[in-house]
């Protein structure tokens, strides 16, 4: 079939405006983080002053370190458990409690964070758990494993199942077939799921506020309390660093998924 471009002027305009709307605010933020002036709105020339300020801010650095640790650990646990959940849902056929299982996995995707945060806190209080690194990590794992499960499940669903079946006909047991055939094929989705979990955790304010304890604030909690007091140029610098970190993670992960999926199929949605 011939493929003609059916773009109208209206289509082009709405695309251009939409992308500008999405990117301009972030771009402005990044540019102003290099502003020498103390006044956030007056341009005083290029400078790294606010980055310097951040690296001398012990409380901020500690919060950033806490956030990174939580993000790496929760993303890793969430990827493991979330992948298992995806395998069970897309390859397990029917099993008892399946409806409840998928319900529990899909609900947190849209559940308002205040509810998730409050309910987990009440659990931790009832269990008399000391609040800090581990409670936040568990809370983030609970949220992000659902995203991992969806990303991996959608990849599993689009996979040709005859490949697994062929491996088994050739004498592999299911475990072997999974490790040798399925796992390499869903690897890009697993990587994408880890990235998504990592950034969601790094980003979360509400759930972390509920589940953390005194003295162990995460970066978003610190940023939030600063932002409430007004705009500070230092925050621009921190935000730019976070954006840079996430950009690096995305580039590495997309390179990794390109290397591992020679079919050239795109990774998972989202």
């Amino acid at each position: 079939m011939r493929k003609v471009s059916r773009l109208s002027r209206f289509n082009v305009a709405s695309l251009a405006l939409g992308l500008a709307f999405l990117y301009l605010p972030i771009l402005i933020l990044v540019i102003y983080s290099f502003n020498a002036s103390r006044l956030v709105t007056v341009w005083g020339g290029w400078s790294l002053r606010w980055y310097h300020e951040f690296f001398n801010d012990r409380a901020m650095i500690e919060a950033a370190w806490m956030s990174l640790r939580v993000a790496v650990s929760s993303a890793t646990i969430a990827t493991l458990i979330g992948t298992l959940a995806a395998v069970a849902l897309s390859r397990g056929e029917r099993f008892r409690g399946r409806t409840l299982f998928s319900g529990m996995l899909y609900a947190p995707l849209v559940m308002p964070e205040v509810i998730t945060g409050l309910s987990l806190l009440l659990l931790f209080v009832a269990l008399n758990a000391e609040r800090g690194f581990w409670t936040v990590t568990i809370a983030h794992t609970t949220l992000t494993m659902c995203f991992v499960a969806v990303v991996v499940q959608s990849r599993l669903g689009s996979l040709d199942r005859s490949l697994e079946e062929a491996a088994m006909d050739l004498g592999c047991d299911p475990m072997r077939a999974f490790v040798a055939v399925t796992l390499p094929l869903i690897a890009p989705a697993i990587v994408a799921g880890w990235m998504l979990a990592f950034t969601l955790s790094l980003d979360d304010l509400v759930i972390a506020s509920f589940t953390t304890g005194p003295g162990s604030a995460t970066l978003p909690i610190r940023i939030y309390s600063e932002v409430r007091l007004g705009v500070k140029p230092e925050i621009n610098a921190i935000c730019t660093l976070v954006i840079a970190l996430i950009a690096v993670v995305i580039v590495i992960a997309s390179l990794a998924s390109k290397l591992s999926s020679s079919q050239g199929e795109s990774a998972a949605p989202l």
Partner: protein, 304 residues
């Protein structure tokens, strides 16, 4: 037995770990929310009573059960602050979702009409801002919208206004923030359905003489309804409980329910009322949540 069936047995076993995890950290906590929503505030640690103590024996447990009451729910229903907060949350969510649909649809439509090679690029471009921090994106808008921020500077320079406009702490700022943060969630499901649509259908309609708007209204839009449904639910549900955006961008004279819950919990330390507010919020969202789950399930489990 087919290979598929043999494969399914160990696959089912994979459910055990995530199942236990979700029951423990997602389902059970709701039990605690429910229980504490029926308790009273106390100046103690934890700040509510009765506290169930399984070691205290049957009599104490029975007394604890008897002490539960629905007073907090009565308070929520009778106090205007809470009633207004729920109504406002719903109004904000409906308005914002409508705005998102109006703004997101043309963008998704434009994406779906790009040549295939460019569609992938456009999709990445829409997703990338979603990866950058939510808080950072709101903060970026505070920069732009503040009194001597970029928007007012531009408006003044163009002589569109004679004095700086107050943007921050207004509903318009909040709507800008919500639309900005949730736009990818609206665009992606819309794009997914629009991209799958057969262009032949639109061509046939226009060959048969339908004007452009009629082609859109009678063919394109009805066919994209599944995407509209997914996008609307994906935005509406979390916006109802939104906390950060109204807290940082809207004024403080009328609160959304997420903010009231936060206030009761962190400022007033009234855990029981906060829990009751969460339960009511959950009940309000139950129908859209169930709808969303069915949609998600259909999309993921019956092939795409």
């Amino acid at each position: 037995m087919s290979a598929r069936r043999i494969f399914a047995r160990p696959a089912r076993l994979a459910a055990i770990a995530p199942y236990v995890w979700m029951v423990l950290f997602f389902l059970v906590p709701f039990g605690f929310v429910l229980k504490i929503s029926l308790s009273q505030t106390a100046i103690a640690q934890p700040p509510y009573e009765p506290v169930f103590d399984l070691m205290a024996g049957w009599g104490a447990l029975k007394a604890a059960f008897a002490a539960l009451s629905i007073d907090n729910f009565k308070l929520l229903a009778s106090d205007d602050i809470y009633v207004f907060a729920y109504v406002r949350s719903l109004i904000v969510a409906v308005t914002a979702t409508a705005l998102l649909l109006l703004i997101g649809y043309p963008i998704a439509y434009g994406m779906a009409r790009l040549p295939a090679r460019w569609q992938a690029v456009a999709m990445v471009l829409v997703i990338v801002p979603f990866w950058t921090s939510f808080l950072i994106r709101i903060y970026a808008w505070i920069n732009i919208l503040q009194h001597d921020g970029l928007l007012n500077q531009i408006l003044l320079a163009l002589h569109l206004v004679s004095q700086p406009v107050v943007w921050l702490s207004t509903d318009s700022a909040m709507y800008i923030g919500i639309v900005y943060s949730y736009l990818p969630f609206m665009i992606l499901p819309l794009y997914a359905t629009l991209a799958k649509m057969e262009p032949v259908l639109e061509e046939a309609a226009s060959d048969l003489g339908a004007p452009r708007w009629q082609v859109f209204w009678l063919v394109t839009f009805p066919l994209s309804l599944p995407g509209v449904g997914a996008g609307v639910l994906l935005c509406f549900i979390p916006i109802v409980g939104e906390f950060v955006i109204p807290d940082l961008l809207a004024g403080s004279n009328s609160l959304m329910i997420g903010q009231t819950l936060w206030l009761e919990f962190f400022t007033n330390k009234d855990w029981p009322v906060a829990s009751a507010a969460a339960i009511v919020l959950l009940v309000v969202l139950l129908v859209p949540l169930l709808l969303y789950e069915r949609l998600q399930k259909r999309q993921l489990e019956q092939g795409r």
